[in-house]
Point group: C2
Chain length 369, copies 2
């Protein structure tokens, strides 16, 4: 077996797989090293929502990046699907962010005007129309902000498809824990318990576990796990027409009647258990928005650890201290949405002279990385 690759990606979540896919598709020999199995990290906590104008409301870098990544989605999903032979449910039915009091409603109405002023299709939907737009919402919901370009992708299906596409493009997978990354004879060496692998470039995309990888000459990357629990309900037909964003949960209705209810945000270290409180809170929250959901089937709860950085923006870029090391981690709540863009940015950084660095995502904003 050839133990030398062009690129080793540490982490087989959606970020690691998307990067590996982009590189392998463009001819690089890629090895993905995953701790256990692809998609068991933050992806588990993801409802796959694609909503830059909600997630990035604060403006700044996240909004721009999210909008840029969403613009790639229409091309990215069919490509991954074709390369893998795996169908990926990807729809853009729009999001409806709802308000339960007049003050929140008027804030949403103002937000609609602001979005329209910047060229984003959006409108405020008031009570008479609201019942037609989304008939099963609770009657005490007084208004909603509709953003028609928003949507969702089935995150699990996308990760599976990326894995399959990687294999078709000749990438290899290793399961196990990475202990250390060190310099060695003109390349980097990734040490595991019973093996080691060499490559010119190593991408650290290990999500919440990124800080646990020892890297020669470099400080630990500042990501901490934020637990997300996500409940899955089912009904014979979809209860909702849009992705709903409420004050205490968001709801993603799949075409088959599945309803994803996300998600808690908890500082619980590396504890990946679902809890009684988490499940209860999500069930309460969904039923406040959609009383009908009480009678929906309960089909399970998923838990994932999202990698949060101190400023809640990802870390994407080359190490200034260890040549060949590239960071792609800390995507927090936006890994699914930002995966296509991150993959392109990192592939460009590795394969092209003219990389497109995003200063706001620079690893060096957190010191000697």
């Amino acid at each position: 077996m050839n133990r030398t690759s062009d690129v080793i990606v540490i982490g087989g979540g959606v970020i690691g797989c998307a990067i590996g896919y982009e590189l392998a598709r463009r001819g690089a020999r890629v090895l993905i090293i995953e701790m256990r199995q692809a998609g068991l990290g933050a992806t588990q906590a993801s409802a796959g929502m694609l909503a830059p104008y909600i997630e990035g409301r604060a403006g700044g870098a996240l909004l721009q990046l999210a909008a840029r990544s969403l613009a790639i989605y229409d091309e990215f999903v069919p490509q991954v699907s074709a390369d893998s032979g795996v169908e990926i449910e990807y729809l853009r039915p729009g999001t409806l962010q709802v308000a339960t009091d007049e003050q929140a409603a008027s804030a949403l109405s103002e937000e609609a005007s602001r979005l329209v002023a910047t060229g984003v299709a959006a409108r405020f939907v008031g009570p008479p129309e609201l019942a037609e737009t989304e008939p099963l919402l609770a009657p005490d919901i007084v208004g909603g902000l509709l953003v028609p370009s928003h949507g969702y992708v089935r995150a699990g299906a996308m990760t599976s498809a990326l894995e399959a596409a990687l294999v078709r493009h000749g990438a290899r997978f290793e399961i196990g824990r990475v202990l250390e990354v060190v310099r060695g004879g003109g390349c980097l060496r990734v040490k595991m318990e019973a093996a080691h692998f060499d490559a010119r470039t190593v991408v650290l995309a290990a999500g919440s576990w990124s800080g646990r990888v020892q890297i020669e000459n470099v400080a630990a990357v500042p990501v901490r796990p934020v637990r997300g629990q996500l409940v899955q309900l089912e009904s014979p037909a979809p209860l909702l027409r849009h992705v709903i964003w409420g004050p205490d949960c968001y709801l993603v209705p799949w075409a088959d009647g599945t309803l994803l209810v996300g998600a808690t945000s908890e500082d619980a270290g590396f504890d990946e258990r679902a809890t009684a409180a988490g499940v209860r809170d999500l069930l309460e929250a969904v039923c406040e928005l959609v009383p009908h959901a009480w009678q929906a089937g309960f089909t399970g709860v998923r838990v994932g650890l999202r990698p949060a950085t101190p400023d809640e923006l990802p870390i994407v870029g080359a190490s200034a201290r260890l040549p060949g090391l590239v960071y792609a981690t800390g995507h927090y709540r936006n890994g699914i949405l930002l995966a296509p863009l991150t993959a392109r940015l990192v592939a460009a950084l590795i394969l092209e002279e003219h990389a497109d660095p995003v200063p706001e995502l620079s690893p060096q904003r957190f010191g000697e990385l």
Copy 2:
């Protein structure tokens, strides 16, 4: 293959398996016909609680039968365990039925006196002692009735053990749907979709599905399904010392830290889904009794359909209209508790001249059965 058995048992739940086991152990050639897989019916809704003096509080036949069956348990479990090689967690830590107001507390105190007067060990535990008896109970619980002889058995383990013991005793299993039971040449014939089986005796132990089996010359047995949902939590060590019976749920703490929270009672036909409302209600109920449970892990929800009769007592006895047919169904919430006694009653009825019929359980109380 010999298609003739001494006894065919229709239904591989805890009742059917216990009867089959008792018969096979005593030398009968037994065939169990189960719709899908043993233990997927009412057993799924069972926390395995063994508490005659709670379940049978109304007095009458149920109390007597439950107490009689519990008395057999100390012998029954080790026997099944030895015959199967399967360990069965069976403990008698006592039940603590709790009251959340003074009126309920004084009713429990009176109940304690009544039980003691009839020779049952029981006592009322008031506030100062309560916190020592069960430290993690909510502070607003004002008293409890302790019945030390009560306990629980792991219902799933018991069903698995009964299955294994049946196989060791030479019994056979068939999976499939029974369409009809008819007379045929000196025996009864059980017709399935692609096969039929003959036996001198047929035991109808199909729980909620008993009324769906067509039987020559006999009316449908009056059982209806009552859905029970049961939530499973876990913590590193048991949160409770006793089985707890509260106003809205009961709690069974396993030795490994699992906490069973049972159970809803719902008329939902043959719908075996867990629901958002069911899970929420159980989580609310457990956390009202044991606030600590909020942080417990949520490991799943199980659903079972309990077979209820119009008077909520089981139907155990011979058919008066079809010789060779024996009923053992309708055990509602008490199948686990009543299984050992039911097995003995039915085996005696089939194998011995001197059967021990229980008039209150007679099928004929519901007409032409």
